[in-house]
């Protein structure tokens, strides 16, 4: 029997309380903040509740230390880019004197993050929300956008092939939001419509099942400080973990995957990973991402064959692939936060995973088609089948009833992969704008798994 997880947000600047006992939950997922900056999280099982304040402080310290170090010290606390452990990256340890001189690190951190940045170009931001027949979700999203501490230049709602005019009515109630109808179904198509109709320097995308943090725009804008950064993604926290499906979905997004420390993906990363398939899906999530407008002129806009309504998903990661392939930077900035409502039903989850893998497979093939980077095929036809064989063997061994794990959705994943190949073959004819630049493939490289 599944019991929900309670999500507790603790603002450390307001003192650390005792964590009370909540009835009927499996545990608490505690997120630690410092003046609106998320710094870490910790899962606490229910039989450790109520938890005394001092112990919560202990856990908080442990959870936030890497992120505080990353903010304050230049090296030694960097998060590792998603690479296999065989690739050694040397991060110089921090200077001991510097480390010892850091008394009151949290107060320093606040000063560090709130000081005005010199030379920060004043970028304007358009917010694009794509939706389809979910006014009850959209209303929460719009309400959170109203509470932004910094007003965006404009907010666009793209109504994608609606079956009723509920969304139109809803948007007409909020005057500062522009309504745009896109009759052709497909998330990529809707997002491209958003790009077409927006006019700010930076376009921030979010989904209708998301609530944004008040500082979302500010933090996104700050992350575009370096002119080479073309794409920024942010932290997606679960809004609730009430059902098993939501919990399972979240397990795929543990902090090990998207953590509380910033990451910069550059061409070095791209070159290192090219031969095994660049894990662009680890850059972020489409529910919380932003691009400089001019990148769409350089690399093109979202591929309409990908994304919900078409292949399934991966339209975001495929665009990041192009950004990196052309030598620009992508940045993951965990201080830009949104809260996502995961699907509640298990059947929805399975459906979603099917489409994830379908989109993922199609994206790999499309990426190969555009750039002839053989690593994409290596992942599609080498790594993934090998990984599924392993998972299958593991699931045979654990036939005992128990919590569903990743192996539980194995069937959906494999069907998704096959469907992705089929989808790609059917839609191959779509013109690809990018020429073939053949790369030497390195097939002897060690396998790399992480999806």
């Amino acid at each position: 029997m599944f019991a929900p997880w309670k999500i507790v947000h603790i603002e450390l600047s307001q003192g650390i309380p005792e964590l009370p006992f909540y009835y009927g939950i499996q545990g608490a997922c505690v997120v630690f903040w410092w003046h609106g900056i998320p710094l870490g999280e910790q899962k606490i099982q229910v039989d450790h509740l109520p938890m005394p304040a001092f112990q919560l402080r202990q856990l908080a310290t442990k959870a936030i230390t890497p992120a505080v170090g990353d903010h304050l010290v230049n090296h030694g606390f960097k998060a590792r880019l998603p690479m296999p452990p065989s690739i050694r990256l040397f991060d110089k340890p921090p200077d001991l004197q510097t480390l010892m001189a850091l008394d009151q690190p949290l107060r320093r951190l606040r000063r560090h993050l709130s000081q005005p940045r010199d030379g920060l170009p004043c970028l304007s931001v358009s917010v694009v929300v794509c939706t389809r027949d979910r006014p009850e979700h959209l209303v929460l999203c719009l309400r959170s956008l109203e509470k932004l501490s910094e007003r965006p230049y404009e907010i666009l709602v793209i109504d994608n092939a609606p079956t009723s005019d509920a969304t139109r009515c809803l948007v007409s109630e909020t005057p500062e939001v522009r309504y745009i109808l896109e009759p052709r179904p497909g998330l990529s198509i809707a997002r491209n419509k958003g790009i077409e109709n927006s006019s700010a320097d930076v376009i921030a995308f979010t989904d209708d099942d998301v609530m944004v943090h008040p500082d979302w725009i500010t933090r996104l804008r700050q992350s575009f400080q370096s002119p080479a950064v073309m794409a920024v993604t942010g932290l997606v926290l679960p809004a609730e973990l009430e059902t098993e499906a939501q919990f399972l979905f979240q397990q795929g997004n543990e902090p090990s995957k998207w953590g509380y420390r910033a990451l910069t993906f550059d061409s070095d990363f791209f070159e290192l990973m090219k031969s095994r398939g660049v894990p662009v899906w680890r850059i972020g999530a489409g529910a919380n991402m932003a691009f400089r407008r001019k990148i769409f002129d350089i690399v093109g806009d979202f591929d309409e064959r990908l994304g919900a309504g078409a292949a399934g998903c991966s339209e975001d990661s495929e665009l990041w692939y192009r950004v990196l392939a052309q030598g620009w930077l992508c940045r993951y900035e965990p201080t830009a936060v949104v809260y996502h409502y995961h699907r509640k039903e298990l059947s929805d989850l399975e459906h979603q995973i099917y489409h994830y893998m379908r989109g993922h497979m199609a994206a790999l093939l499309i990426q190969f088609d555009k750039y002839r980077h053989w690593g994409n095929l290596y992942r599609a036809f080498g790594v993934l089948p090998w990984y599924y064989t392993k998972l299958f063997r593991k699931s045979l061994r654990n036939l005992m009833p128990g919590p569903k794990s990743q192996a539980g959705t194995l069937g959906a994943q494999i069907r998704g992969c096959l469907a992705g190949v089929k989808y790609y073959l059917q839609n191959r004819s779509c013109s690809s704008r990018f020429g073939a630049s053949a790369d030497k493939a390195d097939w002897s490289e060690q396998e790399y798994i992480s999806k």
């Binding site: 202990q58 505080v68 340890p93 001991l96 009151q104 690190p105 107060r107």
Partner: protein
């Protein structure tokens, strides 16, 4: 052969570590403002120096998270109020080792007092366990403020239960006679208590007192008694990432350095006298009481500042015997709890399987030269485990019944003699 043990406080200027001719490495205890935050050993060529620059790189690489974490922890700490601290009884169980005992007693007397309050009283009891001469009694008699008690029934847990009856403090801290307490030992215990007044058991860090022989270095390299430098609080019947919790009671701490709320310990029935009997079953009593504390639903706290230095076995033979007794004591505890705690039986079965699998894997690694411990040590532990599993606990129970019976008849004879003489 010996490793010097160097204490470094990062808030002080770093020293130059020099290795003399016959030394082959160094062990470093790292502190920050007196709190221990790390320990490591490093083999080094004889006659060399480790300059502060290299040392600082090593320190920041090893302990960066801990150092920054301590800074953050200081900042998040609410202003400390003055506490009414509990009274404390320190009980040292000993047998025929007065030279070790005197060292231990002196260190207890030299320990610092906390600055956030003073315990209403601290008493020290020495429990002399079935002594073969009067040396310990004479020694304790010469030390002011130390109470002497003799427990004639041989067995560590007889002595500990005797201490439990004799003690008057709210907290009762047990020490083995082969340890020396750290100067912050008392501060650590009292801090653990102020942070966890609801806890029933407290355990602490155990570091080596000396690394003078091959056996001592080997033991410490293989992990020793160390349980890390983070405060830990165990409460409840599950622990994420540890499916065998709380049955794998080795994680909780070591009996050489542990403390209890005295009344709660009495309520739990004290120590199991069939464990820790000395030969032939020297061990398991600490695991058993930690396990029972957790199973009774009370918290158990591990506090690194509550630290002692333990003198490890000097001879390889004695070390092998210690590993053997670890296996034996652990499995005797498992065998006992399997019978006394039916709801956890399946977990104990899995624990047994896991233990043998783990030890065999370790043995395999050891045969290939991948581990510190040579194969015969691992074999000794495994063999101890097998013996322990094959009914050692019930054999031991019969033995102590016998010991009790002898002592009862002894007392009865004495009484009869008294009556007769009158």
């Amino acid at each position: 052969m010996p490793y010097p043990i160097v204490e470094i406080d990062v808030t002080q200027p770093l020293p130059v570590i020099s290795i003399s001719e016959n030394e082959t490495g160094v062990a470093i205890i790292l502190r920050r403002k007196g709190r221990p935050i790390d320990f490591w050993m490093e083999a080094m060529p004889p006659n060399c120096e480790l300059p502060p620059e290299d040392l600082s790189v090593q320190i920041s690489e090893r302990a960066k998270l801990k150092l920054l974490g301590e800074n953050i922890s200081d900042e998040l700490m609410p202003p400390r109020k003055a506490w009414r601290l509990p009274s404390l009884t320190v009980a040292i169980c000993t047998k025929d080792r007065p030279e070790l005992l005197v060292r231990c007693l002196k260190s207890v007397q030299a320990t610092q007092y906390p600055d956030f309050g003073t315990p209403s009283f601290i008493e020290t009891i020495v429990i002399d366990n079935a002594p073969s001469d009067e040396a310990t009694r004479a020694l304790v008699g010469s030390m002011p403020g130390v109470r002497y008690t003799c427990e004639p029934k041989p067995g560590l847990d007889f002595a500990r239960n005797r201490a439990l009856r004799e003690a008057t403090g709210e907290l009762l801290a047990f020490l083995d006679d082969d340890v020396v307490v750290d100067r912050r030992w008392l501060v650590g215990l009292m801090e653990a208590w102020t942070e966890n007044p609801d806890a029933v058991a407290y355990t602490g860090l155990v570091l080596p007192y000396e690394l003078a022989t091959e056996a001592q270095i080997l033991f410490e390299k293989a992990g020793g008694f160390r349980r890390g430098f983070d405060k830990l609080r165990y409460h409840g019947q599950t622990l994420s990432n540890n499916p065998l919790y709380p049955c794998g009671a080795g994680i909780f701490g070591a009996g050489a350095n542990m403390a209890f709320q005295r009344e709660k310990l009495i309520e739990l029935g004290g120590f199991d006298e069939a464990l820790d009997t000395g030969r032939p079953l020297p061990g398991g009593g600490d695991l058993d009481i930690f396990y029972r504390v957790i199973r009774a639903g009370y918290p158990l706290v591990y506090e690194p500042q509550y630290m002692v230095f333990h003198q490890h076995r000097r001879e390889i033979k004695a070390l092998r015997r210690q590993y053997w007794s670890w296996g034996l004591g652990f499995m005797a505890f498992v065998g006992k709890s399997y019978h006394s705690d039916p709801p956890k039986r399946s977990k104990f079965l899995r624990l047994i399987l896991w233990w043998f699998k783990d030890r065999l894997r370790y043995l395999k690694g050891s045969l290939r030269g991948r581990h510190e411990l040579p194969p015969y040590m691992v074999l000794a532990e495994l063999w101890g485990g097998v013996i322990g599993l094959l009914g050692e606990y019930s054999r031991s129970s019969r033995r102590i019944k016998h010991i009790r019976a002898i002592h009862m008849s002894f007392i009865a004879t004495g009484l009869r003699l008294c009556i007769f003489l009158r």
